[in-house]
Symmetry: C2
Subunit: 498 residues, 2 copies
């Protein structure tokens, strides 16, 4: 059986236990691991590393594609093995360690991590640990449910550990399109003109002598933790679809829209599901994470093709998709995240990009990452790669949180991830604000009138009007601009006053 999954015979002797492989990871190393949004992470080796760290403490810099499943970030944090972490995470325990200043977290645009490694601006991995369905006759690595930064880590690292996941069909081979950009100054355009173009190879090329260990694992990806749609996410979807219909009617978009990018999470996933009942046809996705909604749209015949960097789906959806790889394989491609998120391609294609905001302000600045300006949630992810370069940059959020104690629409966001220059459309369950071509004062009017919860509208209008009386292109009253957040911190509600 090993020789089915490892088709270069000389590599068979590299098969080791997870413990043996984990022993190759040394204190102080920069470790590049596969994994993007709970999909396709190496599992057995990092879990063995956790066990080892209990006896033999070590600290590493862990670089991945994005977030990991199987509680790997949690467990590595608990044993104190993480000194530094980049470029994204979504784990409660790690989040706490980050916010306590115990783990240095570098929050990055997901397209940029390997760019910075290539230019030696950040350390290249000493060792790469990459999940695969198989190794080819040439010793090349066929990834699993994500590509992420794996291909680049394999290129940069001196040593490579491959973890073969036997729960996934070797039929996944052919799903991936691996393209690596050249170093500067001799870089050429990325010749990807349509989401279904293939420009690379189906496996990660590597000098087989760099492969120092091959580990077999039978651990599965953690299922998506997106919640089902509710009446508010449904209302958000309805507003957005209504808007897109009008764009089609006005001749600004074709009925197939533009390639869709949808951020990870409950709201964005629900919005995409809403397209099943829309009048649009022949849709395509050029996204980073393919979620349940991608397969709903494919099954409904609404979506022709989906390009992403990972497949992060619920357990029932995984059974449907990975049990029928042949049915879906010609409609999907997984790419390195540098390519799925590349500004060059996003701008060329002109995606419609739908990402979730934590909060936005009356001028259209978006906070995607920091609660109360200080506490990290997950990271900016790919939202900046897409929003800056999309044809339509859409941000969605429910208008309130914590039972109404928090308004997601505030006078001034407590942290900025996306500036007003980069936000076109804002949607809450209350309604949609179209900010295109508007000056800041006009943006404020559109946002307050359309997106804010009625409980907060009076106060927001009051702030805006008094700020306008003071003047400015982007009128603010600095003494009050963050008052809602201060109220929340001190009294648990944005509008309760001392």
């Amino acid at each position: 059986m090993n020789s089915d999954r490892i088709r270069l015979p000389s590599l068979l002797e590299k098969v080791k236990s997870a413990d043996e492989a984990a022993a190759l990871i040394k204190d102080g190393m920069t470790v590049g691991m596969s994994g993007f949004t709970r999909a396709g992470e190496a599992k057995a080796v990092p879990l063995a590393l956790v066990e080892r760290a209990k006896k033999d403490p070590l600290k590493i810099t862990l670089v991945t594609g994005a977030s990991l499943g199987n509680d790997i970030d949690k467990k590595l944090t608990e044993v104190g093995a993480l000194a530094r972490r980049l470029p994204f995470q979504a784990d409660n325990t790690l989040r706490k360690a980050i916010n306590d200043g115990q783990v240095m977290f570098i929050d990055q645009h997901l397209s940029e991590t390997v760019e910075q490694m290539r230019a030696n601006q950040i350390a290249r991995p000493d060792i790469a640990v990459v999940e695969a369905v198989s190794i080819t006759e040439k010793g090349h690595i066929v990834p699993t449910t994500s590509v992420g930064n794996s291909a680049n880590f394999v290129q940069f690292a001196k040593q490579v550990i491959v973890e073969i996941n036997t729960t996934l069909s070797p039929e996944l081979e052919g799903l991936h399109d691996i393209y690596l950009q050249e170093e500067r100054p001799n870089r050429t355009p990325v010749n990807l003109l349509k989401p279904d173009d293939r420009i690379g190879t189906t496996a990660i090329e590597v000098d087989p002598s760099k492969i120092v260990a091959i580990v077999f694992s039978d651990l599965s990806d953690s299922p998506s933790n997106a919640l089902p749609a509710d009446s508010e996410t449904q209302a958000i979807a309805d507003h957005l679809i209504e808007f897109l219909k009008k764009e089609v009617d006005a001749g600004r978009l074709p009925n197939s829209l533009r390639p869709l990018q949808v951020g990870i999470g409950t709201i964005a996933n629900a919005v995409t599901s809403g397209l099943v009942k829309s009048p649009f046809t022949d849709l395509v996705q050029y996204s980073e994470v393919l979620q349940d909604s991608t397969f709903e749209l494919l099954d409904a015949g609404k979506l022709k093709f989906a390009s992403g960097s990972s497949i992060t789906i619920s357990a029932p959806c995984a059974e449907r998709v990975f049990g029928n790889v042949a049915k879906y394989k010609d409609k999907l491609v997984l790419r390195p995240q540098e390519i799925s998120n590349l500004p060059e391609i996003v701008r060329r294609l002109g995606t419609i990009s739908i990402n979730t905001a934590l909060e936005f302000d009356i001028y259209g600045n978006v906070n995607s990452t920091h609660v109360s300006g200080s506490k990290m949630m997950n990271g900016i992810g790919g939202s900046g790669d897409f929003a800056r370069n999309a044809q339509l940059a859409v941000f969605v959020t429910k208008s309130t949180a914590k039972g109404g104690a928090i308004s997601s629409v505030v006078p001034m966001v407590s942290h900025v991830d996306h500036t007003g220059h980069d936000t076109d459309i804002l949607v809450t369950e209350i309604g949609l604000a179209d900010l295109r071509g508007l000056a800041p004062r006009e943006r404020a009017r559109a946002i307050i009138d359309n997106c804010v919860h009625p409980d907060y509208r009076f106060a927001l209008n009051d702030y805006f009007e008094r700020a306008c009386a003071k003047g400015g292109q982007t009128p603010h009253i600095l003494r009050e601009a963050l008052e809602w957040h201060i109220n929340l911190e001190e009294r648990g509600n944005m509008l309760s006053k001392g």
Copy 2:
């Protein structure tokens, strides 16, 4: 003489007075005018429009490349002719009208204005007014000292007014490289691989029947208003050059560095001049504005080639350059600003981008535009196009302003144009902070230790330490985060307390 400048005979009959041409501009129109950073704007027609508006009031939406010279924005504002203005300006009178809410100003990334027009997200110009040195045998328009958005405006507008500037030599023909991107979804890569590549035509192609008027003008560009270097700008240049030398020594940059982009203004210009005495050789520029420093570097044999969208230089430099066009022409190219600033190309080339900050905070967020969070200075310009995609995004500023009443390094910026994700290197006359690969708390340490003026260091350290005790990935004390700005507003000094 007309036939030297208008080489398509059938167009000779379109020659009109500036007043006649200005009469073609109607109330409510969107007018696309040439002009980028005080270079190559149409002059006679807008000045005639000013005179006409005194008798016959009108309001237009004025779209340009960037800022205009010859006080055109000032005069149009004074006669109340501007309803809306985009994407950039740098005029005192207009700035006041913007901040008073009288003119709606849409501050945009300079690469994006025509992209939004192409997608019909903002109105296309009804009429284009473009300065030229000549019109070719085919009726095509040869621009003058800038390209800006002119070629796209000519493509989009129903009517075109050409203003021929007789003060400039027709020898400028051949300096420009006009390339227009296709509409989506059929767009192809922009095949520009090196700053000196030429990918387009030397004149703006147009159906001659769209040309409704040709006006002769003998008005010159306003000279650059950059100030000479002083000891502080010299210190900033020295810190940056020292850093770049270390990058070369460490093998992270070649001795020819990477293509340089330098923002408009005194500090950035002075920094570039500083390269004359540096050890670097065979430099190239891929920038938006070519300033005096470009020609200093060319004359010194340090710079091999410069690509930009405009030439904005002092009167003596203009005499040297435009009196010797043949000497410089093969070392220069002017492109549409969509191409000079295109994320695709900036990322491919990996520029070293040096732009001026109004202020930055301890986490590396940069405010480029808004005084005290509300009042617009000029606009973001191209700084976002470059900083996001550069190999090295550098922001420079003096550590204090207003005789020390203002610290340019603050706890939290009062407005964000560039997030910490996009800033690599910050420089003041005090020193340089290298933020690459650092988490926010580490960034704060580097910035406070290296960039802040000694008069503010204690207070900034105090804020940061107390914020860290509170916790968070990006520790802040919201109640105090904007206090320095509030002090400044209320008492004229960032550190004076009530």
